[in-house]
């Protein structure tokens, strides 16, 4: 063992390596992404690691490897679990041979997600055991237990940290390389009575799963991670994850000040719920406050336990309105909940009344090719009845003023179907769907097939920036390299579209503004399904070109450059337009917008 300062996600990745994981597959998604990246980075070649095309593919690859006896890891964010849920629901009935950990990162807030769904609730629904770590150290240690449990009961196991655990750093003990486990398997053993799902088998296995989970609930009741800290009064707090850590700090502080404190129960294995332990805890108190994020999962179980055991304990939490139904349990809020529950007066520092602060919503980077693509479509379609169905990625930020080019955004790949649906209701609308290259491969291809087969009238705009930018620049099938460091043939988006039967497919450089506008006008006027692939690499991936500068003698202060495209590189300085040379990456879009020709490449002195 040695000490390292690691991010929660790194801790999980490192623990999987130390536990002898052999096949790792995932699809990027904040806050889960660094788990797989950690393994890929530290891999000596003995572990197979891939970014799969989406979460369903990842889960299936890992399932095959687990059938073959290998320890596997699948990584995704919470909404990715929706995509992977079809294979996972069935896999629970079939089971695994080699241990399988399904890492699903939840995102209270949400900070960077579409939903505040709770994987603990999904665990209960899918019947998979679930671990819920409260910090990086616990996450690290839990992984070994998760693999053991998975192999003991031949079931996939959920590991579900939340954003604050994924992305917080801590100094923890990690194993030395010599302490890494080796679980090299023999390979797949044919047995169709085990691996082929049929109603009869599902019936038999369902009964076994319910029996196992009843036993697991008892086993979890004696798991030391579900720790009880005794208090000084007959009140209790039950918490999980980062909420637990925040509660613990506040109770420790109160204790040190000599206050009476409630008993504290931490739930680290939410499913199957440790009912016996919870029941014993409830017997020691008259009143309980549940501090958890996302669903009132623990709260519901406690109410259930009270009902079954006939306990007269008041349970407070989200259901009773004592804890906010959505958002994070940040320390200030937790303090407020606890103070209210315990009847403590709140001691706070003086709140300062600050002057008005600039808002900083996230924006497309200076030089982002998406800005140019959106602007070209906007100009080309000016005055027409349109729908711009957006999708998920950096390009969702095209919704911001002044571009204002994203009318809808639902989930990855949905834009295609939405554009078709809008057109079905009002056929003379010019329907556009914008989709990023990674999203295209992940979940938009079926939407194109649907459009072509059902003879929709729409324009698909593929925003091909050669990367999965939003989640931190991961490779995908169109980039030509893999997480094993290999170079492969790029899968060509134009060929896919032509293969599906999209008649017109045009590749266009979005930074050639006039040409791009003409292309959009021409293509959008054709009947049926047609596509434009805007090709230009993400600005973050390349060294900036010579920045542009403004000739203040020519500039007439019309501020068109600022009002039209909203690039962070164009700023106001002492009341006049200026280019921030540290931000400008020389894309030249603004120079094509300026009506006076005042913007040009900076001349080096």
């Amino acid at each position: 063992m040695h000490k390292e300062f690691v991010m929660g996600n790194e801790a999980i990745g490192k623990a999987c390596m130390a536990a002898g994981v052999q096949v790792v597959a995932g699809y990027p998604g904040t806050p889960s992404t660094e788990v797989l990246e950690t393994i890929a980075k530290e891999n000596d070649g003995s572990i197979y690691v891939e970014w799969s095309v989406n979460e369903k593919a990842a889960l299936e690859v890992a399932a095959g490897a687990s059938y073959s006896g290998a320890r596997t890891l699948v990584t995704m964010k919470q909404v990715g679990l929706n995509v992977a849920s079809d294979p996972l629901m069935s896999l629970e009935y079939i089971g695994v041979e080699g241990g399988m950990v399904v890492l699903v990162a939840d995102d209270p807030g949400p900070i960077s997600s579409q939903t505040e769904q709770d994987t603990r609730t999904f665990a209960e629904y899918s019947k998979l055991p679930c671990f819920d770590p409260s910090d990086a150290k616990e996450a690290y240690d839990m992984i070994f237990e998760a693999y053991e449990l998975s192999e003991k009961y031949k079931t996939p196991v959920f590991m579900r940290p939340t954003t604050r655990v994924c992305h917080s750093y801590q100094s923890i003990d990690v194993r030395d390389y010599a302490e890494y486990e080796d679980h090299r398997p023999d390979g797949f053993v044919k047995d169709s009575s085990r691996w082929v799902i049929f109603p009869k088998l599902s019936y038999v296995n369902h009964a076994k799963i319910e029996e196992r989970n009843a036993g697991l609930s008892d086993e979890f009741s004696s798991n030391v991670r579900n720790a009880v800290t005794a208090g000084t009064v007959r009140k209790g707090i039950v918490a999980q994850g980062i909420s637990y850590a925040n509660v613990k700090d506040i109770l420790d502080e109160a204790s040190a000040q000599g206050r009476d404190v409630p008993s504290l129960l931490k739930i680290s294995t939410p499913f199957p719920f440790p009912e016996k332990l919870a029941c014993d805890f409830l017997k020691s108190v008259d009143e309980v406050l549940v501090i958890e994020e996302l669903d009132p999962y623990i709260e519901r179980h406690l109410v259930y336990v009270c009902g079954r055991a006939g306990l007269n304990v008041s349970i407070k939490g989200k259901i009773t309105g004592d804890v906010a139904p959505s958002g994070e349990n940040l320390p200030d809020l937790v303090q407020k909940y606890i103070s209210g529950f315990m009847g403590w007066e709140s001691a706070s520092s003086d709140a300062v009344k600050t002057p008005e602060l600039p808002v900083r919503p996230p924006v497309l980077c200076a030089g982002c090719p998406h800005r140019a693509s959106f602007y070209a479509v906007k100009k080309a379609m000016k005055g027409k009845e349109t729908i711009f169905a957006g999708d998920i990625g950096c390009y969702t930020l095209g919704n911001a003023m002044p571009l204002d080019m994203v009318d809808t955004c639902l989930c990855m790949g949905a834009g295609l179907g939405i554009a078709q649906g809008v057109g079905r209701v009002k056929p003379d609308t010019k329907c556009f769907a914008f989709v990023g290259d990674s999203t295209f491969f992940a979940s938009a291809i079926t939407g194109v097939v649907n459009a072509v087969y059902n003879q929709a009238d729409m324009t698909l705009i593929v925003l091909d920036n050669s990367t999965t930018a939003m989640t931190g620049h991961q490779p995908h099938p169109g980039t030509g390299h893999t997480m094993m460091g290999e170079f492969t043939d790029k899968i060509d988006i134009e060929n896919i579209l032509r293969g599906i039967g999209v008649g017109t497919v045009v590749r266009q450089d979005p930074f050639k503004l006039d040409e791009a506008v003409e292309t959009v006008k021409r293509v959008a006027d054709e009947p049926g399904v047609k596509a434009i692939i805007f090709e230009a690499p993400c600005a973050v991936l390349f060294k900036p070109e010579t920045p542009y500068e403004i000739d203040l003698d020519k500039c007439v202060d019309c501020k068109m450059c600022i009002r039209e495209i909203g690039c962070p590189g164009v700023v106001l300085k002492d009341g006049r337009v200026a280019i921030d040379e540290a931000l400008c990456n020389g894309c030249g879009l603004c120079s094509q917008i300026c009506p006076c020709g005042a913007i040009g490449k900076a001349v080096k002195e």
Binding site: P355, V359, R360, P362
Partner: protein
Amino acid sequence: MSTTNIILCGVGGQGTVLASKLTAAASMAKNLDVRSAETIGMAQRGGSVMSYLRIGECASPLIKSGCADIIIGFEPAETVRVLNYLKNGGTVITSDRAMMPVTAALQGSDYEGAKMTDFLKSLEGDRIGKLVIVNTDEALRDLGSAKVLNMVLLGAAARGGFLGEVGIEDIKEALVKKVKPQFHELNFKALEYASV
């Protein structure tokens, strides 16, 4: 043992993360427990960023309002934004250089750093116990590099004794291990630059 609570804030891409990692490494070298948390994701693209850093025993990486011993601000408006985290009489070390958000440009407003630093000065000696405002343009010109603002601010914090048990020598030792040799001299100079 008491915990030292530090908040670093700025705008995405300003180097807050390296400063927080160096301090963590310096603390670990002294066998102190460290926890930290930072914003990752959407917010990085031109948005406000903030790192919490806690040295000493604690359970959560997050810090309550009124509990930060020190705020190290890379941008004056961001410093003001997180001011409520500061304990009464705590320390603020901040850059004076404003970063203009696109939205401000769009609305045609000229956001001024001086307004923020003036506001901070008005709280000095009371809500803020110790205030250090670094003239960033001057500092970077003197040092001849636009990339060392983080070391200027961190150096001021360490030399002023505001990082708990972690002092300037600890930071230097950590820096030698984390940063390429050709940058050592520049970074050392930056650490020593600001007067506290």
